[in-house]
């Protein structure tokens, strides 16, 4: 009985034909997709013209910024023009990874840059600041991003690595009390001591006397606080815990500041701590839990209709994070940036209107890009030009995503650093 019955062999043939058809369809589809990317170039021209009209609406928002930023527009224009004529020499595909804090902005940048230069595909993955540092140190990705400035030890582990700030944002204290009659438009007041106590598990309920005293006129609910923090290594955590350490001595001794800390609220009796992965994870946990509090990059709070709190700053005022107040913090605390070490701490900045939990985020790259053997010369050129574009033309996309455009002195310092980027000694810019 070696011969098959007709029905059986027909079925087998059908399966084989189906598999071949599927493979052919996939291959054909893939071919179609990659060949159609060349036709997208014509449409990108239309997209650039719409972006030009977007730019004019951006500048009205920018006019709300201080005059310093406006005067930087002329500096921006002159610097950009010297690099503007560049065209990529080859199709390149670049991988970056790091913080989730600037992820909305950086991914917006990479997509926009790809529309401007379709041959340059830069893909950014948000895996946490710790991940960005780890992967760039191991030279597995082409560039990294972190909101936590590298420690000297981390610099030592990655010789030749430099960092420069590419944007600036605020860590918002966010909460979900809608079900208790406190809509997200209500701005609750917090002091750093109260926040520290919440995250240490010593303040357990929303109607704790300290919270009630800070928020007269608001009926604080008798509900348990679900305290959400990061479960992965995070620069957002770094800025948040840095702020608490600087302002609350209790926190400084018990917990300290780092990209990843041990949260006392996780083990405190009767307290509920929850870990979320990435800014999206924390925002998601807060959005899904009544009575939750968390710390996230401002955009994640605003885009999900979560309440954003006002925090007491060094001057004693309760300030909510807005583009303006974060900019004030930057202006008051940045000082004179040194291109040789662009780690800038602006937490708990002075100034009456400064938002106290503001932080720069940094791009990490090797000064001599050839140190990473996977980076070819065209890739290095494209990356360097992308960085230049980031701190100049790219800044116009920041306000819409609730990031603050870099102040002029920071842009100038960044430019000096970027001009030192080289490939085996040959400078990459202009």
């Amino acid at each position: 009985m070696i011969r098959m019955s007709n029905k059986n062999s027909k079925r087998n043939i059908a399966i084989v034909v189906l598999v071949i058809v599927v493979i052919a369809a996939v291959a054909g589809g893939y071919y179609f997709m990659t060949s159609s990317s060349s036709t997208s170039q014509t449409t990108s021209m239309e997209q650039i013209s719409t972006q030009m009209s977007e730019t004019s609406s951006m500048t009205t928002q920018q006019s709300m910024m201080s005059s310093e930023t406006m005067s930087s527009a002329t500096t921006m224009a002159s610097a950009t023009s010297s690099v503007a004529g560049w065209q990529p020499t080859a199709s390149v595909s670049i991988t970056g990874a790091g913080a989730t804090f600037p992820q909305p902005l950086i991914q917006k940048w990479t997509v926009t840059y790809n529309q401007l230069y379709p041959q340059v595909q830069i893909s950014y993955n948000g895996i946490g600041s710790g991940g960005g540092i780890q992967q760039i140190t191991a030279k597995v990705v082409d560039f990294g991003c972190s909101d936590a400035p590298l420690s000297n030890a981390q610099f030592a582990a990655a010789p030749g690595l430099v960092l420069f700030p590419e944007t600036l944002g605020g860590v918002a204290i966010t909460y979900n009390l809608a079900i208790y009659g406190i809509p997200s438009s209500t701005v609750l007041h917090f002091t750093s001591s109260v926040i520290a106590q919440i995250y240490m598990g010593t303040i357990l309920k929303w109607n704790d006397p300290q919270l009630v005293a800070l928020n007269p006129g608001i009926t604080m609910p008798d509900a348990h606080i679900t305290v959400v923090h990061r479960s992965d290594g995070s620069g957002t955590t770094f800025a948040f815990t840095n702020f608490l350490s600087v302002t609350d001595p209790n926190w400084a001794t018990q917990v300290g500041y780092s990209t990843s800390v041990t949260w006392p609220v996780d083990t405190a009796p009767n307290a509920i701590g929850v870990g979320g992965k990435g800014n999206p994870g924390v925002a998601g946990a807060v959005a899904n839990t009544n009575g939750a509090i968390g710390y996230v990059d401002l955009i994640y709070a605003l885009e999900n209709n979560l309440g954003v709190g006002a925090v007491e700053n060094a001057a004693g005022n309760f300030i909510a994070p807005t583009l303006q107040t974060i900019l004030y913090a930057a202006q008051n605390a940045t000082g004179t940036p040194n291109p040789k070490d662009l780690r800038l701490h602006i937490v708990n900045a002075a100034g009456p209107q400064s938002y106290p939990i503001a932080t720069y985020t940094y791009t990490l790259e090797y000064q001599d890009m050839s140190k990473n053997p996977d980076i070819t010369l065209p890739m290095a050129q494209a990356l360097a030009h992308f960085f230049w574009w980031e701190i100049h033309d790219g800044q116009q996309y920041a306000p819409a995503l609730y990031y603050v455009p870099l102040p002029a002195n920071v842009v100038a310092a960044d430019e000096q650093l970027l001009l030192t980027l080289n490939y085996q000694g040959t400078p990459l810019l202009p």
Binding site: N8, P104, V111, G126, A138, V140, E303
Partner: protein
């Protein structure tokens, strides 16, 4: 202990009811998942969904074409490696029965139980860290590590099911062992072998953890298999845990496509294998 007939009958009926109930309870989550995925995923499907690249996180519009490409590439690489190696390994287990083969078979069975995240870490160390890049290739290797034991075992089982008389008939006619294996045994066991392969493909299509540390992700289509790749499973994970409702809708849409592919493959295979012919001997 003597119970009345009535009480025994009652207990018997109770047992029947409870068992049926158990079966129905198991169906509830299945139906719930199918319903939720269908209703919420369907809303996200449109032409853009299948042709556009993934949007920046939280952004509007966009599609999952790069995720579809990445998934198919990783599964394709895994199949290219896993199917032949698994097939031949299973044939080896059949051709050389003995203590060594028994131990090898035990190793394979144990490997099928290794958590997929451990496989992901191992491939991270072996390939990603060594070659300094996340890639679809590494993702494919990780998936093939999972696929090879499964295919080997199912091939071995299918070959074992072929009656010995058929093999002996071939050998008696003077056909060499190799030819017997290929033209007689494998073609008789074709149904079971194809079923095993199809089921393993369906299984790895739905895997996430091995791809987290190997393929990473990509906002664009890949230029080569040695570039990072987005995949439908990782997309569902990262978009599902984000707070944006638009991202959630995306995740449901991708989950619907994935579910259709995986369940569809399972259904087709299982229905087809029910039509297995019975040999007369």
């Amino acid at each position: 202990m003597f119970s009345s007939v009535a009480s025994r009958r009652f207990i018997n009926r109770l047992f029947m009811v409870l068992s049926t109930l158990a079966f129905l309870i198991a169906l509830v989550p299945l139906l719930s998942i199918l319903y939720q995925t269908l209703s919420k995923g369907y809303a996200a499907l449109n032409l853009d969904f299948f042709t556009q690249l993934t949007p920046p996180i939280g952004g509007a519009g966009g599609g999952i074409i790069n995720a579809i490409e990445g998934s198919l590439t990783c599964v394709g690489i895994a199949s290219l490696i896993g199917i032949p190696v698994g097939l031949f390994a299973g044939a080896y287990l059949y051709e050389y029965p003995g203590k060594l083969a028994n131990n090898l078979r035990l190793v394979a069975e144990v490997l099928t139980g290794v958590p997929s995240i451990v496989t992901g870490i191992v491939v991270y160390v072996v390939i990603v860290a060594t070659f300094h890049s996340f890639s679809a290739f590494a993702g494919g290797i990780a998936l093939s590590f999972m696929m090879i034991p499964i295919v080997a075992i199912s091939t071995h089982e299918s070959l074992k099911l072929v009656p010995n008389s058929i093999k002996e008939g071939g050998l008696a006619l003077g056909v060499s062992r190799s030819k017997t294996l290929v033209y007689i045994l494998v073609s008789t066991a074709k149904g079971g072998i194809v079923t095993g392969i199809a089921l393993s493909v369906a299984r790895i299509m739905g895997e996430t953890a091995p791809l987290l540390f190997t393929a990473l992700g990509n906002q664009f289509m890949m230029n080569s298999i040695f570039a990072p790749a987005e995949s439908m499973t990782v997309l569902i994970y990262s978009y599902g845990t984000s707070p944006y409702p638009t991202a959630h809708a995306f995740a449901w849409g991708a989950a619907l496509i994935l579910l259709l592919l995986v369940l569809g493959l399972n259904v087709v295979v299982r229905i087809a294998s029910r039509l297995k012919p019975t040999t007369a001997i």
